[in-house]
Amino acid sequence: MSPRRVVVTGLGAVSALGLDRHEFWDSISAGRSGIAELESVNPDDFTFRNGAEVRGYRPEDHFDKKQIFYLDPFSQYALTASREAVADAGIEWNPKLCSRTGIVTGSSVGGQTTTDESFQHFYKEGRTRGRPLVIPRVMPNAAASQISMEFGITGPVFTLSTACSSSNHAIGQAYWMVRSGLIDCAITGGSEAPFSYANLKSWEALRVVAPDTCRPFSKDRQGMVLGEGGAMMVIEDFDLARARGATIYGEILGFGMSADATHLTHPASEGAAEAMRRALEDASVVAENVGYVNAHGTGTPANDAMETQAIRTVFGGHADRLALSSTKSMHGHALGAAGALEALATVMALREGILPPTANYNEPDPECDLDVIPNEARKADVGFALSNSFAFGGLNAVLVFGKAA
């Protein structure tokens, strides 16, 4: 049996760029950044003042009181994005389809907002009695389980946690399961809600967060800016999608993974390059046909130079003919949700023929000497694109997308 084609038929997003996929793409395609002064904590307490927080989101607009008890914000973002993606896909569930559908989500830190509140409860308020909902809210698979209950999905449901590559690893596994025929359909993506005092203080200690804003590939870049949110896609067997007359946003063509095996926090270009090579090989796409790369592009001095080198290694002379951009300059680095937000940006870029820019870009850096689409989106008809994620821990995951044919 030849491998199936796997297409994207539904999109959903909650992010600093807005509460749905339309607001997300409107901002991304206009080069408008969602990075602003922190509201969830007092910015005076930190060496950085900005974040890409979800604004204007009220849990009670999406869930009843009892549901909210069970939902850490990271699960709320995942569930809200899933509802949107499923509605967008126009899927009508039945028991057979539910059993042939999987859910794979990514999250780096799961319900850390709840963990943080729980620790305050004990260590700050001096209480000695816990709460029974802390464990089920905190577990990183809570989001996937909530989605399964929402739609009655009974196929393979699980969660991957590989720091900043979590969603790409998740989407990759879901893709492979549909491609192999193990399942027919999947809801996949990731979510993260990292804005608590203690978590932000720990990021501050790593000295990788920019004091100003996120300026990927720009010579004056000073680091990443944390983001939050959730993004989900409905992916399915092409024949199934066609038979039910679904809108096809694009196609997933391949997935590649690698591990640096060198350092827990310092990235290595050979590991990143290997993941891109394996993804292209998996997709049977030749490097010269790739027109756009949605970069990992965190905006740290180390990552962006490393990624540039890795792209040169993989693409050779073609590196000077392809375009890349980091949409983290707009939605921030949403950690376990990053790959999912970027997958949406990449799929939409291919579909609309608009390559999103790298926002906040000031000056060229000889160490990042590729076409990074500075500040303004570009019209371009591109057939194939990569979306890179390179995580702390040296874990790399790259997806290959194709324009809907």
Binding site: D64, K65, K66, F69, R127, R129, G130, R131, P132, L133, P136
Partner: protein
């Protein structure tokens, strides 16, 4: 004054009863006036984890720790009232039927 009004008035005079009723009403998103001693958690749409959450809040409120078998065996509001009255008032009589 009818029997129901008297019962309502009495229960609100007892701080333990009042706290148990208001807290459970809050969880169930309903008014304390609509609850009776015989109302079950199930009737209010509250499941076992809701029950555990409510008990944890009440244990904090009254600064007592109930044994697990007592907490896990609760199905009615009245059982919670009696259990906390017994521990708060320290009266063994309150535990007798």
């Amino acid at each position: 004054m009818g029997l129901i009004e008297t019962a309502l008035k009495d229960r609100m005079h007892d701080p333990v009863t009042e706290k148990v009723f208001t807290l459970i009403a809050d969880y169930a998103d309903t008014s304390a006036d609509s609850l009776e001693m015989d109302t079950t958690f199930e009737e209010l749409g509250l499941d076992s984890v809701d029950g555990l959450s409510i008990m944890a809040d009440l244990e904090d409120e009254f600064d007592v720790s109930l044994p697990s078998d007592e907490v896990l065996g609760m199905t009615r509001i009245g059982q919670a009232v009696e259990a906390f009255q017994a521990h708060v008032n320290g009266s063994p009589d309150a535990e007798s039927p």
